[in-house]
């Protein structure tokens, strides 16, 4: 069994990064690996906004990832500094369900318990 940390750095609105991360996490869990945590940094923190309001026919990658993490009890952390800078509110109700505020320090400490970091 491998313990993975997953790192998202790209905006959920300009790439397929969140969708790919979700597929990797699902396949990892299915193969009995552990996803110790997922960390959102740089533009990826935009996913933590509860105000994301997509046309009904557009899948919401941020919400799909959060749902999966809640089911599997995988901590879905986002960097508070990167989020503040980008105007993402850190408090409910502006904070998206399933997203947890964290510092770079927490991510760095958790990494020491992981075998592999995969960046998306």
């Amino acid at each position: 069994m491998t313990t993975f940390a997953l790192l998202l750095t790209h905006s959920p609105f300009a790439s397929q990064a969140f969708q790919s991360c979700l597929r990797f996490a699902k396949a990892a869990v299915q193969a009995n690996h552990q996803v110790e945590h997922i960390f959102l940094y740089q533009d990826a923190v935009l996913a933590a906004s509860a105000a994301i309001d997509l046309p009904s026919d557009e899948p919401n990658a941020a919400a799909l990832l959060a749902d999966f993490c809640q089911q599997q009890r995988i901590p879905l952390l986002f960097c508070s500094t990167a989020a503040e800078k980008r105007g993402v509110s850190l408090q409910p109700p502006q904070l998206g369900a399933g997203y947890e505020l964290a510092g770079l320090a927490e991510h760095a400490m958790r990494l020491s318990q992981c075998d592999k970091l995969v960046q998306f």
Binding site: S11, P55, D57, E58, P59, L64
Partner: protein, 119 residues
């Protein structure tokens, strides 16, 4: 010189924001009767071939917006022939009409527009 605006999309259709927002922008200009034309180059040419199964990726297929061009009386998109040969060397039937341009023709056509907005 034409008074038309050229919307030049170079991003992949799977970078859904850029492609979708370039198409929305084009349609918005058309809706107020402002002359406008779309140019696809680079990976953006893949818009012309509707994706096989974009739903599997949890992404939105925005190529369907090209189907509205006729309704809005928009000219068919200009398409870089070189990019098409590169990215779709064996295209299935292209899903939408378009005007292919050689590199020389692209240079000529680009000079023809009053303004160019790049996405």
């Amino acid at each position: 010189m034409s008074q038309a605006t050229l919307i030049w999309l170079q991003s992949s259709p799977y970078n859904s924001s850029a492609a979708r927002e370039a198409l929305d922008y084009t349609l918005a200009l058309a809706a107020v009767d402002s002359p406008v034309q779309l140019l696809l180059s680079g990976p953006a040419v893949c818009l012309l071939q509707a994706p096989a199964d974009i739903g599997a990726l949890q992404l939105k297929d925005c190529s369907k917006l090209l189907g509205l061009f006729e309704l809005y009386e928009l000219p068919a998109p200009l398409v870089c022939q070189h990019s098409l040969a590169l990215y779709l060397p064996e295209p299935r039937q292209l899903s939408y009409p378009c005007t292919l341009l050689s590199k020389v023709q692209m240079t000529e056509q680009l000079a023809f527009f009053r303004q160019i907005i790049t996405f």
